[in-house]
Amino acid sequence: MEVRTVEQASGRCVSRGFLLAPATTLALAIALIAGTTPWVHAAEAIEAFPRTIVDDEGTTLVLDAQPQRVVSLSPANTEIAFALGAGDRLVGRTDWDDYPAAATAITPVASFTGVDMEQLVALEPDLVLAAGNFFTPPDDIARMRELGFPVVVLYAPDIPTVLTDIELIGAALGADEAAAQMTAAMEAQFDAIGEAVSAVETRPRTFYQVGSEPEIYAPAPGSFVADMVTFAGGDPITTADAAAWSIPLEELLVADPEVIILGDANYGVCPGDVAARPGWNDMTAVVTGAVRPVDDVPVTRPGPRLMQGLAALARAIHPELELAAFPPDPPLCQDG
């Protein structure tokens, strides 16, 4: 994507990397995304089962009938399943699947040690929605396929893929229409946010804090979170390269963020803590008090609430934005 390459050229996000004014850049970006990326709409008629599915890793599998016993191995997949109206067909989840509330009643079969194969087998699933990029251990994926279970692996490294994954899950569950409606709505929300953001003149340098102990964790260039910050109207400060997870304090000081988003607010980090850190109080963001907490779950989870997350992020970067169409953000960090 055009915007990304420009930013990567300078190695980190500093305003002198831009060749165009901020607003036009964003408008161009959105236009390019809409034009070039295949946001698949389920235009074709819903076929009856059996149907062939190709997952995000390129594995082809055939589903003989509409799955009635589904195991989801990631919080995002669970949310998507519920949002598509298939929540009653879920029989297994991971330990971390917390949304919607109904999900907690489902049997957990996966934890940080991997998938509990016995539990999985005992549930007799006819579809397993796994997560790629090693979220579900590849050995477990291979084992489940060995035992004969259809496993669809989903992995969304960027925002358009989130929508194609929703449609992929919709196809696997036989809920194509619901999926199409959801993605259309999310596209519309994306456009609305984009419009509102491009109306704002400024594009502040934004540091999204993923974590602060023991090192400062920031999004990598070209990562999902960096993209989210861009579309939310910020100029993301990123780590040095795609393999680096952390950023040294000196680099951050040089980058001098104008806005600091606390992506770890859910884990107890609040603006007051940031101001107290040695060396941080010279940053523009701290001086002007532009340190704002955000609920990281909708921002980072590639699921139905992604656009809520984008809106929350946009509001955190540009507090003046109303975005009335979106629900108000839940308060985090009462002190600020």
């Binding site: 934890s111 940080f112 040690t113 194969m117 016995e118 005992a122 007799e124 090693f134 291979a142 084992r143």
Partner: protein, 360 residues
């Protein structure tokens, strides 16, 4: 009155169950087999899903013995028993045997009670191999073995081969120089492993779990390859028990007792390395089995390899099957943690006894 005279006067009278067992190794072996059998039964019958014992027995009777039993159980339960639990328990049995037999052999070859199967850089070599296998962006399997398993096997053998050559292996170079070289090579490989782990990013967890050892990935295909290697290797080692005994008093005495030291050392080293590499490829780096089980067996029956080898095989197998059951019941902890938690205190106790002499 010399000190030795005083010690002699206070030497304890030998009596009690240990003494009785020492003279009846067959009884000890039977006890071991019973423990193993109970462990296997418990391992197949218990797990995170409850299956009625009657169903378990019926499934096994029909699938293993071909008895005409009518199917009254859920097919999922049959999958769990036959595809998940049975291969896992058998893998634990085989790996426990292999590690214990290798432990006895290395302790005898190196004449060092602190030796374990991993002492000649095997651990680091296997771990580095596995890490490379995990990190390579290729997903191939050969005969059902993943890349990590295959590379771990190769890594373990490569490490020992390097150590043997660097130490000038085979000649009159002493086992001490091999031991020290093993330490050095192991450290180098461990450095490589640290680098691999640093670069591994989101795959760190996989490498880490491999390091701790786990039987979770056990399946019939891996077992079909690992079992013959470990079984044949162990039997061949046991057939050379006489040479291991000969080495007890040192190389020169062994030669005088008619042992072809150079040849036997090479053969035993190769066999023990093969068995260790296979065990490590199947289950990762499970510690303390190869170190502690031979010691405990020796405590009871003395250092005669003809007894220590088969008894260590039996008790090592039982130990690991029980440990794996414990790992499964406590929420799928890596089994290496369980063996460490049980084995380390035992080892400390043994060390204390060893210093003050094995007096029972």
């Amino acid at each position: 009155m010399t000190t030795t005279d005083l010690l002699r006067e206070h030497a304890p009278v030998r009596q009690g169950t240990f003494e009785a067992l020492r003279h009846r190794p067959v009884v000890l072996g039977l006890i071991g087999l019973v423990t193993l059998a109970v462990a296997v039964v418990a391992g197949i019958g218990l797990g995170s899903v409850f299956i009625a014992p009657g169903d378990t027995v019926a499934i096994l009777a029909r699938e293993l013995l071909g008895l005409p039993v009518t199917e009254t159980w859920a097919s999922a339960h049959q999958t769990i028993v036959m595809e998940l639990r049975l291969p896992r328990v058998l893998t634990a049995l085989v790996v426990g045997t292999g590690l214990s037999v290798a432990g006895v052999t290395f302790q005898g070859l190196l004449r060092n009670p602190l030796a374990d199967p991993y002492v000649l850089g095997t651990a680091s070599g296997a771990a580095l191999g596995a890490a490379i296998g995990v990190l390579l962006p290729i997903q191939i399997a050969w005969l059902g073995l993943g890349l990590a398993n295959i590379f771990a096997f190769i890594g373990a053998l490569a490490a020992i081969a390097i150590v043997y050559r660097v130490a000038g292996g085979g000649g009159r170079s002493t086992m001490t120089s091999i031991l020290l070289t093993g330490y050095a090579v192991g450290s180098m490989l461990a450095a490589g492993l640290s680098l691999a782990m640093y670069l591994s990013g989101s795959q760190l967890r996989q490498i880490f779990f491999y390091l701790l050892g786990s039987l979770a990935g056990s399946d019939w295909q891996s077992l079909a390859i690992g079992l013959p290697v470990i079984a044949i290797g162990s039997i061949l080692i046991m057939s050379r028990a006489r040479s291991l005994n000969g080495l007890l008093l040192g190389d020169d005495t062994a030669l005088h007792l008619g042992v072809d030291v150079r040849r036997e050392r090479a053969i035993l080293l190769a066999l023990a390395s093969l068995v260790t590499a296979a065990a490590v490829a199947l289950a990762g780096l499970i510690g303390f089995v190869g170190l502690v089980v031979p010691h405990v067996v020796r405590l009871v029956v003395g250092p005669n390899a003809r007894l220590v080898l088969p008894l260590s095989a039996i008790f090592g197998a039982a130990f690991l099957v029980w440990a794996d059951l414990g790992a499964r019941i406590t929420g799928e902890l890596p089994v290496g943690i369980i063996t460490a938690v049980i084995g380390a205190p035992i080892f400390v106790v043994l060390l204390r006894r060893y210093r003050t002499g094995y007096q029972l």
